[in-house]
Subunit: 107 residues, 2 copies
C-alpha cells in the first residue's frame, strides 16, 4: 500500500482531484492506467486514497519518465475523458523528492 521507493532523489506526480457524478468507464480506465503506468520505464510505485478528495501519487525515477508517460497515447485519451467527464476539478503537481523517512511498528 505504501510504495517502496528507492533512496532520494526521485520524482512524484501528485494528482489531487474532485470527481463529477459521472462514473461511466471511470473504474475500468483508472485500473487500466495503474496497470499501464506500472509497465513504463522509470516507474517506481503508486499510492492512492480517496474520501471526498482523491489523491494519487505516482513515483518516477526522473522527469523524462514522467514526460514519456504523459505522452503515452492511451494515457492521453484517458486524460481527455477525465477533463470532459470524470473530474470537476484537479491539480497536478510535479515534485522532486529530496528526503524521506519511514516507520513500521514492530509486531
Amino acid at each position: 500500500m505504501i510504495a517502496k521507493t528507492p533512496k532520494p532523489p526521485y520524482y512524484v506526480v501528485i494528482f489531487s482531484n474532485l470527481r463529477t457524478d459521472d462514473d461511466e468507464n471511470y473504474s475500468d480506465t483508472s485500473d487500466r492506467m495503474l496497470e499501464l503506468a506500472a509497465q513504463q520505464p522509470g516507474y517506481l510505485g503508486v499510492e492512492h486514497a480517496r474520501d471526498e478528495l482523491g489523491i494519487t501519487l505516482s513515483y518516477w525515477a526522473d522527469l523524462e519518465s514522467i514526460r514519456m508517460w504523459k505522452e503515452h497515447s492511451e494515457h492521453v485519451l484517458a486524460r481527455n475523458m477525465g477533463r470532459s467527464r470524470w473530474y470537476k476539478q484537479f491539480m497536478t503537481r510535479i515534485a522532486r523528492v529530496e528526503r524521506d523517512y519511514g516507520f513500521e511498528k514492530e509486531t
Copy 2:
C-alpha cells in the same frame, strides 16, 4: 479542498500512513495539528484523503518552514503518540514542487 498554492517552486510534505485500530485521541489531535500547522510561517495549504491508506499533503514556502513545524513542541508530542499508538506504518517524503497545472470544469 484542493489547496490554492502559489506559483512553484514551493515544498510539499507527503505523509502516507496506515493506521492501527487505536483511535483514542486520534481525531482531536489530528484536527489540532491541522489547525496549528495553518498558523505556522510558510504554511501554504493542506490536502487530505483516506480510505485504507491515508495521505496528507502539506504545502510550505521553503525547507526552513518545514523544519520549524517539525520542531514545534506540540507537533513533536503528537508525532510520538503517532509512532506509539496510531500508526502501523508510515512514510514521510519531502519534495520540491517544480511544476503544477490545474483544471476546473466550467459550470
